[in-house]
């Protein structure tokens, strides 16, 4: 795991401050070298770093899974970069403002050559505090970028009132209650809050969302079409849960943007942790439950038009 090159995906609507953040990452003194995959040349350019142009070519995989898309250009570029891996420590992928983050994220799970040499570190989304509300009305991409994020920078906070800022954050939380949220001005932030997050590492899912298993954190969030739904329960039967979660994500995959879960399996001393992107699931047994931890299970889905009642019923049918 450790010798795989970490990849940070930077998303955000046009003008939100993505390029400012990228330039900050590249100019700050941190002793690290980055290979940067960008869409527009010219705005970024640091001599010491490798900057590569991308075409955002999305390939549908011919495997009968309609939402299973990958970025063909990314596969090719990463293959090329990996032949010169002594030249850089990490990769940053900047997407265009209109990009759907799913094909980018899925590339790191679907393409075995990419998965063997690199790992997705986190999806970082920059949003404009002033204009987000408008974007959420007219741009489905803006919503996807928030739903997908592990880290969200609410940028340009100096341009809005405290009330307006609180409102923006509420809107973000309605879509994605689990991302780390940071308020910034001119994308100024400690880089360790953006880079080296290990957000897709199953071991770290709890660390990133400390209230993930906290019952009181289960508020009702609502957005017109994008929701997060979560359920907490006791022990589950893996014989029932595993077939269900596989079938559910296969059938509803196009609607589910991200999923996460921590489960207490009956007679299993270790925690089962999973996370997924659309239909792609990654799960494993992790460390044992500690004595001071309550053995409980929680699952979370962020997606569109999710049938809360049906998911609840199906999940409850898996309980011991």
């Amino acid at each position: 795991m450790s010798d795989k090159i970490p990849v940070t995906v930077l998303t955000g609507y046009l003008g939100a401050g993505k390029t400012t953040l990228l330039n900050r990452i590249l100019t700050e003194q941190h002793g690290k070298k980055y290979a940067v995959i960008v869409n527009e040349f010219g705005e970024v350019g640091i001599d010491n770093d490798l900057v590569v142009g991308a075409d955002e070519e999305v390939f549908e995989m011919n495997n009968g899974c309609i939402c299973c898309t990958v970025r063909g250009d990314l596969i090719r570029i990463i293959e090329g970069l990996m032949k010169r891996r002594g030249k850089f420590d990490a990769i940053i992928v900047e997407t265009t403002g209109l990009a759907d983050p799913a094909p980018v994220a899925q590339t790191f799970f679907v393409d075995e050559d990419v998965a063997a040499k690199s790992r997705l570190d986190a999806v970082v989304t920059v949003v404009d505090a002033k204009w987000l509300a408008e974007r959420l009305k007219d741009a489905p991409e803006a919503k996807n970028q928030i739903a997908f994020a592990d880290v969200i920078l609410v940028n340009k906070t100096d341009l809005v009132s405290p009330e307006a800022l609180a409102d923006v954050e509420k809107q973000i939380r309605a879509i994605n209650p689990y991302a780390k949220l940071h308020r910034t001005v001119k994308s100024e932030i400690d880089l360790d809050k953006v880079l080296g997050r290990n957000a897709f590492d199953l071991d770290r899912i709890l660390d990133l969302a400390p209230d993930f298993l906290d019952e009181s954190g289960a508020h009702h969030h609502h957005d017109d079409d994008m929701q997060s739904v979560s359920f907490t329960a006791g022990e589950v039967d893996p014989e029932k849960f595993m077939p269900w979660i596989n079938e559910f994500t296969q059938l509803e995959g196009p609607k589910i943007l991200r999923s996460k879960g921590i489960l207490a399996f009956k007679d299993e001393p270790r925690r089962f942790v999973f996370q997924g992107v659309h239909m792609i699931l990654d799960g494993d047994l992790q460390r044992p439950w500690r004595d001071d931890e309550k053995r409980q299970s929680k699952i979370v889905f962020i997606g569109r038009d999710l049938d809360r009642a049906a998911i609840k019923k199906a999940f409850e049918a898996c309980l011991v």
Binding site: D55, E57, F59, N62, G72, D73, R76, G80
Partner: protein, 336 residues
């Protein structure tokens, strides 16, 4: 230096390891070949090793793709340049795509073609360059054996293009993302490797489709036998060799599997005169296998540290086999 010292430790293979002269390439070997009788290695870091000399036609940039054409090495770099390097080490610029990567390359008889993103350029032997914009990025380019015609892989199939005419490319359709591309030596068949761990072929005469599946991973290396009857491929725990001698190609026939091991084949190279295949694996091992009876000879022992075999090439006479690995190991086998 040879690896022959511990030869007795591998009694199950007849070994040729004592006939291998090893040397350090010092960097990921992208491509291997011979110019006259001199072994040549192209390194991803940007150097070309010609015998004992090292040259860097792309200066500080890396090399992404390379091809051999007669006594020249054609290379495409992440500096956007397409360079031709001679055995003397001298080089000239054939094309320059500012700020782009050269993603794919093909060369034949002085003509060179390259792709940067969706743009494909072809430069004929006289130096006239023509370009075309494709609907998607070609990962593989290959000249047809006859005439000045280029075949390009693309998303959803392949396309055939006559660079010296204004005619739009002719499309060969098959759903999915097509990667590398090769043409049979007689020009009858076109074969691509796919993102979905399969090969797809077309018979050029009537565009009849051929599907070749069953690979556990992507095929990234092809080699045609000297008689053009067989296509050897990487991507499985054996070299998968498809029969192409019939008019229908491999349809309805099983491929041969040579050199079955518990490691993945990463590189293949047919002998230029005999039905003998050199097979390189992702654990750095190299075997030589005879197609007729699958007899195996050991060329190089496995060594995880040195990475997968990324380049294999025979000289014209078939007396020498040159190899290079991801980890920078290299060597020449001289057949006894």
């Amino acid at each position: 230096m040879s690896d022959a010292a511990n030869d007795s430790a591998a009694p199950d293979f007849t070994s040729l390891t004592e006939h291998v002269r090893s040397f350090a390439a010092e960097g990921h070997v992208l491509q291997a070949g011979f110019i006259k009788s001199e072994p040549v290695l192209v390194l991803a870091e940007g150097e070309i090793v010609i015998g004992e000399r090292r040259v860097a036609p792309h200066e500080d940039a890396g090399i992404l793709v390379a091809a051999f054409d007669g006594d020249c090495i054609i290379s495409g770099g992440d500096d956007g340049r397409v360079m031709r390097t001679l055995a003397s080490g001298e080089s000239e610029t054939l094309g320059h795509e500012k700020g782009k990567w050269i993603d794919a390359l093909a060369a034949k008889g002085g003509a060179v073609a390259w792709a940067t993103g969706k743009k494909v350029s072809a430069r004929d032997a006289k130096g006239v360059t023509k370009s075309i914009d494709m609907p998607s990025t070609p990962v593989g380019l290959c000249f047809l054996p006859k005439g000045y015609r280029l075949v390009m892989s693309q998303y959803g199939g392949a396309a055939l293009w006559f660079p010296n005419t204004d005619a739009a490319p002719e499309n060969l359709e098959w759903k999915g993302a097509h990667l590398d591309i090769t043409v049979s030596p007689d020009g009858r068949f076109i074969v691509t490797s796919m993102q979905e761990n399969a090969l797809h072929g077309w018979r050029l005469a009537d565009h009849k489709d051929m599907r070749m599946t069953g690979y556990p991973s992507k095929t990234r290396c092809f080699s045609w036998s000297h008689d053009g009857d067989w296509l050897a491929t990487s991507g499985a725990d054996a070299a998968i060799v498809w029969p192409f001698e019939d008019k229908d190609g491999p349809m309805g026939k099983a491929p041969k599997e040579l050199g079955v091991r518990s490691a993945k084949v990463s590189s293949v190279a047919f002998h230029p005169k005999a039905l003998v295949l050199a097979i390189g694996y992702d654990d750095s091992c190299i075997l030589m296998c005879r197609l007729t009876d699958a007899a195996e000879l050991l060329v190089r022992r496995a060594s995880r540290l040195e990475g997968k075999v990324t380049a294999l090439a025979w000289d014209k006479g078939g007396k020498h086999l040159l190899f290079g690995t991801e980890g920078g190991a290299a060597g020449v086998l001289t057949l006894p």
